[in-house]
Symmetry: C2
Subunit: 491 residues, 2 copies
């Protein structure tokens, strides 16, 4: 049975301008016809000469395509009889299949095989390259010591006999970086830790995800602040946990409310940002910190302490983290290197009991095998040479100046329209507008002026909250002026 | 009530060689005493003069430390009366606390608050820098076009007005890289896809983790090959799924067995590596591919097709992936960029239906907010200029030569001791030893010769399997010779 009546010239389209060799294009086109059941097992193909004439290709191209398909098992050749679609292939009736009714293992029908994730950041409008983007608290990557990082990276990459050992065995991250972090965190935060208490992750968010995955299961409960860093809330919900919300005031989260919840039914986790709470930037007071540590100890309450911008505190030294107190391993401490280097450089860390870190590293390995260990080693080298610490000091000084200037400009341009407290640290100001003011409309008017500001819907936790987080650290003087001028014009 | 009788000189230790300012050290030391309940709320501290004398520090240092603690709310000053531990702080009785009995919400006691991850790769022995590391299939990062990547990265990093838009809005990854990948995958794999079908992830492993997290829940079932890529098996188990194992022979996985399972009780997922199956490197035959696509369509069976080294096929062109056939969105396609650039450069991708990718991007955002978008943009630029494709062609040519040379050397050095098939592609050879041969002992003897080879326990799926995956792609001639010589000496 031959198939010479099939109109191959209509079914096969060849693009002579493509980078893909012609014989590959032909082979792929024939394969698609075979797989879709348009040409069936046992059918004879036109000879290479006939096919070449039909589809206007060189005969050697057709021969190469046939050879390719034969070597892959799609075609078979029987001496003089010709070239056939392999009779071993199953017969497929194109498009005629009726899907079986799909059932889940529990016998319930489901409309789709994957879950819907109940979360979306507000869609960004198209951001043009000439737009000034106002973020919600990024460092300025124009001052990142990128040359030092890349030079070290290149030196490591070229030495296979050196980097091979670096790439293996340390599923918790580069050994040098973990050692440097243990030292840095001990000195700056009075954490009493060693290398094996530190896991390096692809960003602080992943550190939270790993820590939460270790502690939570479907049906768990998590105490969070109201309002809270939204990506943390959504992450906990994604893992099947239920949120128990506790109010935040100017002294931070209400720790009496936390105790009250614990005394009724102990939750599985507390997530807290004691420094520069997100989004409102408030800092947990000394009194509440002590009470909270006491609660953690008495109830053995597991805690994720997210201390993402500890290093950026301007008025006095930052308050030591909860993790620096005696807590019997119940405080899992998360921090960010991205906040010091650049938002695109994704590096964070998770600090915990050595056994916890060992278990968490196994989970990390299932998620990403390893990080970019050479990059981690290069960052470790910045610590070793002191360049990281110098860069941090320079950044803190610069961002303190920018905070002051930014807050002045905010007052000048928006005046009584807004309320804000000058933040003690961090990279953003929490600005509150009157209830009837539309931040979304403000955002639209700014956009027309070439300034991109999100529409505030991320922070719309309740009807009584009408605020927005506005980052200052990444803006130089000219950019701040541009933003302030635009604000004054369109407010 | 004063506490001048407290022996501060014994309790506070100051390191004069530390980079931490002396006043910070003192403040932190005092804070620790306060938080541990050693000095209690309402107690008076020694005057700065007395304290300075006691602990042999300059008085201005003590004043600075007191000021610091006062500004944080730990101390209060009452005019001439002196400096007191803030009476607002709660009273903590150090070490005397009795933890409440810990209960889970379900009323069951549990010994620890976090889960144990039932997986560990065999511990690596200490790898000395001068050791030759034999991996299980890495590319050679000495030929990575790192200069082009870094130059582009630096150019992007310095342009804040350009990179700001690049950093935002694309939770599925850099728009340029997704566009380039859609084009590259369409041309090389006949996938009929656009930009919005592609998600870029921090390595192919994360792509598998995200895809599996979207599909699986506790109690789900997953069909996997027996044997299989162990990090995938462990990942599915970690997500609460049960593995259903199907045999692999020289033509790949047994698709009749898959159909038999589907007809009994439809599983939630099939995970398959049709090209260069891990660890055995076999390729799924044409006949089985067609049958499998038919099964996927008829049963609407969700599939993760892990095609991590499609681009590295040496004897003929690679067989088009399952994802290139009509499958109604049920085949989720995973690939790796790390395999082409360098094992430490963690970049992979996930291809699926546009809605699936949208949902998966939200999950990805909860895990890592974003990738290193500037790095992704830099890789995209390699595609745009054609350097990625040229590098790939050079690599395939080089690795084909290395495969041939490596297989010759294996025969010469190990001869009849081992069985292996020359792999059609990929970066590793699957070597099978006799049942009574100890790979672990071989590994030890090689280590003494300066060669690091894992002990094979990773692949010990059953008592009848005694094999090891040995990578050749990263080894130059001299390194291969060194390995072969060592093998011949200690076999």
């Amino acid at each position: 049975m031959t198939i010479q009546t099939i109109p191959f010239s209509n079914l096969i389209s060849i693009d002579r301008t493509s980078a893909i060799p012609l014989f590959r294009q032909l082979a792929n086109a024939l394969l698609t016809l075979i797989r879709n059941g348009k040409i069936k097992p046992g059918h004879r193909l036109p000879s290479s000469r006939e096919m070449a004439a039909m589809i206007k290709l060189n005969r050697t191209t057709v021969i190469a395509a046939y050879d390719e398909l034969r070597s892959q098992g799609w075609l078979e050749v029987f001496g003089k009889k010709g070239i056939f679609i392999s009779s071993q292939l199953p017969v497929i009736n194109p498009k005629s299949f009726k899907p079986e009714k799909r059932f889940t293992p529990k016998g319930l029908s489901q409309s789709d095989f994957y879950r819907q994730i109940n979360f979306d950041r507000p869609p960004y409008r198209e951001i043009k390259p000439f737009h000034l983007l106002i973020n919600d608290g990024y460092p300025d990557s124009r001052i990142t010591p990128i040359d030092s990082l890349f030079n070290r990276y290149k030196a490591l990459l070229s030495k296979a006999d050196l980097h091979s050992p670096l790439m293996t065995g340390n599923v918790a991250g580069s050994l040098s970086l973990r050692r440097e972090l243990a030292d840095f965190l001990s000195k700056t935060r009075a954490l009493n830790i060693e290398t094996d208490n530190v896991l390096v992750s692809h960003g602080a968010q992943l550190a939270i995800y790993i820590a939460a995955s270790m502690v939570l299961k479907a049906g768990s409960t998590v105490i969070v602040a109201d309002m809270n860093y939204i990506l943390a809330d959504k992450l906990f919900e994604q893992l099947g946990a239920r949120l128990v919300k506790v109010k935040v005031d100017e002294n931070g989260i209400d720790v009496d409310a936390i105790e009250e919840i614990c005394s009724r039914c102990l939750p599985d986790l507390l997530y807290i940002i004691p420094h520069h709470h997100h989004p409102t930037t408030v800092t947990l007071s000394a009194e509440r910190r002590m009470k909270l540590v006491d609660i953690i100890r008495r109830y053995q309450l597991p805690v994720i302490e997210d201390d993402y911008d500890y290093d950026f505190h301007y008025n006095n030294s930052p308050i030591l983290p909860l993790a620096s107190a005696d807590h019997n391993g119940y405080v899992l401490y998360v921090g960010s290197i991205s906040k010091t280097l650049a938002p695109t450089i994704r590096l964070g860390y998770l600090v915990g009991d050595a056994d916890f870190i060992r278990q968490a590293s196994r989970l990390k390995q299932l998620m990403e095998i390893r990080g970019d260990v050479l990059f981690e080693e290069s960052v470790a080298y910045l610590f070793t040479t002191g360049e990281f610490q110098r860069h941090l000091r320079r950044s803190v000084k610069l961002y303190r100046q920018r905070r002051d200037r930014f807050c002045e400009l905010l007052k000048t341009s928006l005046g009584d329209l807004i309320q804000f407290t000058i933040p003690q640290g961090g990279m953003a100001v929490w600005i509150v507008f009157p209830q009837d003011y539309s931040i979304s409309e403000l955002s639209k008017r700014l956009y027309a002026k070439g300034v991109y500001l999100n529409d505030g819907s991320l922070y719309r936790y309740s009807d009584t909250i009408n605020g927005i987080r506005v980052g200052f650290a990444s803006l130089n003087d000219a950019e701040m002026e541009k933003f302030a001028t635009a604000l004054a014009q369109v407010k």
